[in-house]
Symmetry: D3
Subunit: 133 residues, 6 copies
Amino acid sequence: MTQDSKSERYKKGFAKLQEVHGKVGEDVLDDLRKTAPALADFIIEYPYGDIYSRPGLDVRSRQIATIAALTAMGNAHEELRVHIQAGINVGLSEEEIIEIIMQMSVYAGFPAAMNGIEAAKEAFENIKTKKNP
Amino acid sequence: MTQDSKSERYKKGFAKLQEVHGKVGEDVLDDLRKTAPALADFIIEYPYGDIYSRPGLDVRSRQIATIAALTAMGNAHEELRVHIQAGINVGLSEEEIIEIIMQMSVYAGFPAAMNGIEAAKEAFENIKTKKNP
Amino acid sequence: MTQDSKSERYKKGFAKLQEVHGKVGEDVLDDLRKTAPALADFIIEYPYGDIYSRPGLDVRSRQIATIAALTAMGNAHEELRVHIQAGINVGLSEEEIIEIIMQMSVYAGFPAAMNGIEAAKEAFENIKTKKNP
Amino acid sequence: MTQDSKSERYKKGFAKLQEVHGKVGEDVLDDLRKTAPALADFIIEYPYGDIYSRPGLDVRSRQIATIAALTAMGNAHEELRVHIQAGINVGLSEEEIIEIIMQMSVYAGFPAAMNGIEAAKEAFENIKTKKNP
Amino acid sequence: MTQDSKSERYKKGFAKLQEVHGKVGEDVLDDLRKTAPALADFIIEYPYGDIYSRPGLDVRSRQIATIAALTAMGNAHEELRVHIQAGINVGLSEEEIIEIIMQMSVYAGFPAAMNGIEAAKEAFENIKTKKNP
Amino acid sequence: MTQDSKSERYKKGFAKLQEVHGKVGEDVLDDLRKTAPALADFIIEYPYGDIYSRPGLDVRSRQIATIAALTAMGNAHEELRVHIQAGINVGLSEEEIIEIIMQMSVYAGFPAAMNGIEAAKEAFENIKTKKNP
């Protein structure tokens, strides 16, 4: 059986999702899928299949951009925490992540940065807990 | 005459401002200084003297974070344009900048990304005009 | 005793509040009234008495607009949940509400849409729990 | 020669773009394509091919949601104007559009609503100019 | 002939609008009235008739709150400029207004503050131009 | 031993932090310091040492501006609660704070104002609990 191109985007996106987020990404999408299965598919296909898989920017730089944006916008604490964990996965150090978030005090104000640091604290603890259960 | 620490922060910030923005940064601050001189000083001291000068994150990564945040927030078109020009100054390619902005469609929506691309177009044209007058 | 026009706006608004939200709307305002009674009155008078009662747009269309806006702004999770329950009250299907929220991924990004879906999940569960206790 | 599924999404999206926006949509994307061709393709494929083409919500309701969200967010005046023109295309009356925007005073404040009315004024004039040149 | 309460709110609001904004407020609303007459009425009745006319907070303090909020939100440059002019009308000094706006760098970031200073510059020039024509 | 100027800004900022927030401010920063010690220092130095300590605007007016901005932005519930408690510390009455927050319904919408009132309720309860344990 041949697979159509949608499946190609989906497969490419799913592989990228796992590379960036590990098991956490699947868990988030499995939860979303119960209420909005199409949105879970779209997230695999567009952000991960189309955008994150593009060759013009390395995944470490992409994760810097995402952590900065979610800290600055301040509308999605859980997603920020998940993307900070992903930042560690793709090679950012804890120190670099703290620097990205602190820098957002300049562009989005100190409360946004303080909330970003709280998300980082939670993300770093999540990683430690799973590594040393 | 010895200079006090405020002057140290200011001098460090001013050097960093020139490294990141070249002459453009001074022009923006000179205009601001006419109405709010203290804010112009604070911008040199805090964002550039305190934050951008920190060693924990390279300036290329800092500029990725800033371009992402300003595109996502969408509240400061001129500042975004100036920071895209700075992105070129610190070693980002036009392609990388386009990728950062396109990625913001995922986190802040397509209109924010489209407006970011417009700022990039203006920034790239500004650079070309000055190079080849 | 005749009632003045403020009472007319209030009465019209209170009837519209009940039409749109049922008992839930009163509960939210009763809680608000303990700290800011004037704001509770203003909410009945302006949003419900003045705006929602206008004839130029049907209440189903008004609820689409509100669910879209609150999902996109992402600053009021509880209010979004309450307005999703109201969407069901005024004739939107669960499927239509999910579509409205998913569409916000285009204009406000995927994290805003994901948080909107979470609010929808909570709203749908609230309705089921009360119907089948 | 058979076309692959990406072309199917693109073709479906392009047809929907024309249905919703007429010639205006293509003009906007042609301008975007000069700087970020991939983003122009993504806009045809995801918002129009994937989202607007879904059967679960009629296009009139989708346009209500978009006009509401862009008015409330207030970060994209041009896109709002283009989507108001599209609202007329898909069957909303000028009066209904004004009602949607006025309602946003409740959720996003009066300045956002006032700016939305300004975009509506421009959109209505654009339509009249082209109809009666 | 007795006037109904809507007229009372409207008259109270119109007097407050003139106190706060002088002739400028009427000009802004006259322009709005051409496209959305009901919204112009609502603005006189709710923000000025209901809110600004309340006794619990002096009008100078109210104007501080409005200038701060519009600077921080950054979505309404014209309205901010008009409210800065109103700040002068109700007794704030230019210096105090600059301080309010600079303080927003802390809560909303430096770009928002810089844009607020630009609005202040325009407002101060408008006032001077009209005083010394 | 002489202290350098950084210590001067820090000492001035720390004194201002205590004046505005009492013990609460230190508690918030002590928690932040565990993850991002530099950000805790920057908050003492810039917002409190540089901005709040400036003579051009009294601290009561500064607190009005901050409560208004945080209510309008709606991205930092905890910080808003802390700044409402600080508003009481610097001489605002509960009634004045409620008025500031209600006024934000005009500029940022009713959901933002309702969430602000919730933060005020929590702040007023915190103060009462500590006074009458």
